[in-house]
């Protein structure tokens, strides 16, 4: 019941929910010690290293065919190449010798498929959801473009303009701009410094990167770096057969990226973001936090800290939004990532005047988690919430696939989901206190306040040209 009236949905990108704690349907929430994932999982690794994961699911006649590439904006280590993984995702729809772009599109259209892709820090994800009877066509189409993608420089340049358009559509959203600024400020070495969209200057320089795009494909679109994930009305044996037939000749060649580690942060950082249209003041904080792992309870404990602070029944939420009504939104948490990341706190204050009080309230609640152990009953209620939320979230083949895809991209291991929920069950009040003390500290803090600053009177731009078309 948390109000979404007017809360930009992009905020959800800040949370871990998209990856792990959220979707399902066909089973009871598992007891804390049992596997949380309620469906059987069949797996096979082909000779070239391609992992194939199949989850039969009760969706009569429908299958979700996903391909996980374990490369995202995290891999954009070369200067000037930020945003390239995302751009390249666009190029993957540009055809091959066997299936031209138009032919590819027509086949998918005829089958009535939902087909699209997305790029994040740690992965690029492609999907086709459509009729079961077209499973072989899906395998044929997908394997072909992953092996044989081909496009001209002219097509590449035009697509770069569409990517610039994608940036433009996002630019009016303060949350996206806050995230972009926060990451740029918080990281100095690691590629999490930029978002999956990339820096604007790099996006604008993309049309000139055709040669690099071919290298990118050769390097990252390799079987050892990909996972084919099929969920729905399928027989695993049939999927494995199709995988052998269509992907068996895909040559190895992946070279992992060496991503620079981010040095420890020793002092708080802050920078203001001016907003040219009237808005309520907003602040995004990031605290240096660990990478996703189930080797210890640490990451799981921090995820519970997110619930302790930002669920609607959390004392901080209740105080700021419901009782004192100083803010209309406070949210955040840790995201699941391959490398050390940020624990985020977002707040939108009701006015500039109350910002100091809002900041103090947040600081007090963060400090309290490190000082006083939380009530174990409260932790149990959070663990129950997470299990029921997970069970509720697995409500379609796509939802199941996306749960698994996020986890597979980060760890490469489908069991990570089950391990995570076991770790949640183990978290104690002492763990929460320890992680709060370790992570929610001022030396690891980066803060970006966003406030309205009226723009200067616009300079008159040149009149619209009336000349003949360019074409250069």
């Amino acid at each position: 019941m948390k109000p979404l009236y007017g809360i930009p949905l992009a905020l959800l990108a800040l949370t871990f929910l998209a990856v792990c704690a959220g979707s399902a349907r066909a089973a009871e929430p598992a007891a804390p010690t049992a596997d949380i994932f309620p469906f059987p999982v069949a797996q096979k690794t082909l000779g070239n290293g391609l992992q194939v994961v199949v989850v039969p699911f009760d969706s009569p006649g429908t299958v979700a065919y996903y391909t996980v590439v374990r490369t995202g904006s995290r891999d954009e280590v070369e200067p000037g190449k930020s945003g390239f993984a995302h751009f390249f995702e666009h190029m993957m729809f540009r055809g091959t010798d066997k299936y031209s772009k138009d032919r590819y599109t027509e086949i998918l259209k005829r089958m009535g498929a939902d087909s699209n892709a997305s790029t994040d820090d740690d992965l690029t994800l492609y999907h086709i959801v459509g009729p079961k009877r077209e499973l072989e066509t899906m395998a044929d189409l997908e394997s072909d473009r992953f092996k044989n993608l081909k496009y001209t420089e002219q097509v590449f340049r035009t697509e770069a303009l569409a990517v610039r358009g994608e940036y433009a559509k996002n630019a009016s959203n303060p949350i996206r701009q806050l995230i972009e600024k926060l990451r740029d400020l918080a990281f100095s070495q690691h590629t999490y410094k930029h978002t999956a969209m990339g820096f604007l200057a790099d996006i604008e320089a993309m049309p000139a990167q055709y040669a690099y795009s071919r290298q990118f494909f050769q390097r990252f679109y390799r079987p050892e770096n990909c996972i084919v994930l099929v969920v729905g009305d399928v027989d695993p044996a049939q999927v494995f057969q199709l995988a052998e037939r269509y992907y068996g000749d895909w040559a190895r060649g992946y070279r992992p990226t060496e991503v620079a580690a981010e040095p420890p942060q020793t002092a708080p950082k802050s920078a203001q973001l001016d907003w040219p249209n009237p808005v309520r003041p907003q602040i995004l904080y990031g605290y240096r936090a660990p990478a996703f792992s189930t080797a210890s309870v640490d990451w799981a404990a921090l995820d519970l800290v997110g619930q302790l602070l930002f669920s609607e029944n959390a004392p901080l939420y209740q105080e700021l939004v419901v009782d004192k009504q100083l803010a209309d939104n406070v949210s955040g948490g840790i995201s699941a990532q391959r490398d050390p990341t940020l624990f985020n706190v977002f707040v939108r204050a009701r006015s500039l005047e109350v910002v100091p009080q809002v900041e103090k309230t947040i600081a007090d609640h963060l400090a309290k988690l490190g000082k006083d152990p939380v009530d174990p009953v409260r932790l149990d209620r959070i663990k129950s919430h997470l299990r029921y939320a997970f069970a509720a979230s697995l409500d379609s083949p796509s939802a199941v696939a996306e749960q698994l895809a996020g986890m597979l991209a980060i760890t490469g291991d489908v069991q990570s989901l089950n391990q995570l929920y076991r770790r949640y069950a183990e978290v104690t009040p002492v763990d929460v206190q320890r992680l709060a003390r370790q992570v929610l500290v001022s030396t690891g803090e980066t803060k970006v306040p966003l406030v309205y600053v009226a723009p200067k009177a616009p300079e008159p731009t040149k009149p619209e040209p009336n000349a003949a078309p360019g074409g250069n």
Binding site: M1, P3, L4, Y5, G6, L9, R25, A26, E28, S59, G61, T62, E106, K109, R110, M111, G112, A113, D114, N116, G130, P131, R157, T158, L161, A162, G165, A168, K169, A171, S172, N173, P174, I175, P207, P276, N277, P278, R280, E312, N313, V321, V322, Q325, R350, R381, R387, A391, D395, A399, P455, P458, P460, E464, P465, N466, P469, G470, G471, N472
Partner: protein
């Protein structure tokens, strides 16, 4: 989480005064006489709780949807936002027996919620819970719906939330939603659909807690309720739920007639001015069709061919984005589509008796805005002129027959579409699509295009910086070429010449500063 039925506003203040200029008629045909949009009579009201069940015995989840026939169209003049605020006093507030804090605390361990969304005609309360928590959840749901607490602090918080959704979120945080909402206001001036679901800034200020209590008593009644249940619920549970909801008053039948929306006279442009680096483009006009009409289905095919939402095979997408790199995407709609930036397929919960046809051109660079608008008009004109070829028809029909089945993959969506269909008084929508598409021909589609689509009389909205400059350029109406940073084919440039020469022919251009949007 609340369902994403945000309260996006509308251009209530859009005065559409101005000289009526000669309409830009389609080139090769005489202007087609469009059927007059019809006034719609309210459906008769059933005093019992009408219930639709979508059982799924193997599912561990149970879904509930309460569709009340009350929406922002029922807001009293000067109190725009009353329906949405009343909805929040159910979904985001305490009850007579417990505070809001206690309610969310009780719901939290079962990961359940009481979500309320308000649309133009209906308010939907939804919930989903694991079946082993069903009894506890049902009691809380019934309590929230039948015994709201109306606490003054909840009232102030929710009112502020709605106001901020207009002043901060819609005006200043998402240019695409701003344009989409502005278009609705422009298409339905002076109509009960004109203002946003969240109301207006001034309307919200005028609402008192007593107004909310009165509105709740009059509107959240059994007479207006359509109940939907789905999933793996046990035997006898529906009766228990209905017994709980029977605490709602029966209520009285209320006429909810709608005036006929009018086609604009000529192409009337609204420039919403704000600080922004790009220009979003939207245009449309009312059409006298809903899902309950036979002609809706051939027009659904035509619209899908032109630009199915968030897919990459529509004509608009191919011509404007793929070939010319103008923007991120371009789509066409045969009816209102809720929250287009956030969903890939339609979501249920927004049934309406009056609809509009529209095109959505996602933000372009300011220098490309005239070219993009002309490009979209050019493609729509071309469709009207040429219709669909038989092969395009067959392909689009095949696509829609399969694709629409993906719209009901989740329990909640299945239930939601079932309720919407009942609201329209028709058989289940997705089944209806398949049955209708089996029977229609390419001639039916082309006849529907000629009968309902036109470009002469449009409401056009552009969200832009430097509006005065753009207004002057639109009035000059001179060719503005698209400049490419790369070599492009001679064919493309030849067609660009035609696009550039397409006249926009504005009948009137109005500039609305963004801070006047959704104000009153």
């Amino acid at each position: 989480m609340t369902t994403t039925k945000m309260a996006w506003g509308v251009l209530a203040a859009l005065a559409l005064a101005g000289p009526t200029a000669e309409a830009a008629a389609p080139k090769k045909k005489p202007p087609v006489q469009k059927p007059a949009p019809k006034a719609v009579q309210a459906a008769p009201i059933d005093p019992k709780i009408e219930t639709i069940a979508v059982p799924s015995p193997n599912s561990p989840m149970v879904a509930v949807r309460l569709l009340f026939r009350v929406g922002s169209m029922d807001d009293p003049a000067g109190k725009e936002g009353l329906a949405a605020l009343t909805g929040l006093m159910i979904g985001q507030s305490g009850t007579a027996d417990r505070s809001y804090a206690d309610l969310v605390e009780a719901l939290y361990p079962m990961a359940a919620s009481v979500d309320v969304s308000t649309d133009r005609e209906v308010t939907t309360i939804t919930g989903q819970v694991h079946r082993d928590k069903l009894a506890d959840y049902t009691a809380l749901l019934v309590e929230a719906v039948t015994r709201p607490g109306f606490a003054a602090s909840d009232f102030e918080r929710n009112k502020d939330q709605l106001s901020a959704s207009l002043t901060t979120s819609l005006r200043s945080a998402n240019d695409e939603l701003l344009g989409l909402e502005a278009l609705q206001g422009a298409i339905f001036p002076g109509h009960p659909y004109a203002h946003a679901q969240a109301g207006t800034v001034q309307g919200l200020k005028n609402i008192t807690l007593d107004d909310v209590k009165r509105f709740y008593g009059e509107s959240f009644t059994r007479s207006r309720l359509l109940l939907g249940v789905g999933g793996g619920y046990p035997e006898g549970w529906i009766s228990q739920l209905k017994a709980g909801l029977a605490k709602l008053p029966l209520g009285v039948a209320v006429a909810r007639d709608l005036p006929a929306p009018q086609l604009p006279s000529g192409r009337r442009i609204t420039l919403v001015e704000k600080a922004t680096d790009s220009v979003g483009i939207h245009f449309g006009f009312p059409i006298p069709l809903t899902r309950a009409d036979a002609d809706y289905y051939p027009l659904l095919v035509a619209t899908s061919f032109l630009g199915e939402h968030r897919t990459s095979h529509g004509v608009l997408y191919e011509e404007l984005r793929e070939k010319r790199g103008l923007n991120y995407g371009d789509y066409a709609y045969v009816e209102y589509y809720p929250f287009p930036p956030f969903t890939n397929t339609p979501t249920p919960g927004s049934p309406r008796r009056q609809q509009y046809f529209s095109l959505w051109v996602r933000p372009v660079k300011p220098g490309d805005s005239q070219f993009a608008l002309r490009g979209a008009l050019y493609e729509l004109d071309k469709l009207i002129r040429n219709g669909l070829a038989p092969a395009d028809f067959e392909l689009t029909r095949s696509f829609l027959t399969n694709y629409t089945k993906l719209w009901t993959q989740t329990l909640s969506d299945r239930l939601g579409f079932a309720l919407d269909s009942r609201y329209y008084g028709m058989s289940p929508f997705i089944d209806e699509i398949e049955q209708r598409l089996t029977k229609i021909t390419v001639d039916d589609v082309n006849r529907a295009i000629r009968k309902y689509l036109q470009t002469a009389n449009l409401r056009i909205v552009l969200v832009t910086n430097n509006a005065a400059e753009l207004k002057a350029a639109l009035e000059r109406d001179l060719p503005v070429p698209k400049k490419y940073g790369t070599e492009v084919s001679a064919d493309l440039l030849a067609e660009d010449e035609l696009i550039q020469r397409t006249k926009i022919k504005p009948a009137a251009i109005e500039i609305v500063p963004v801070d006047q949007m959704f104000e009153k």
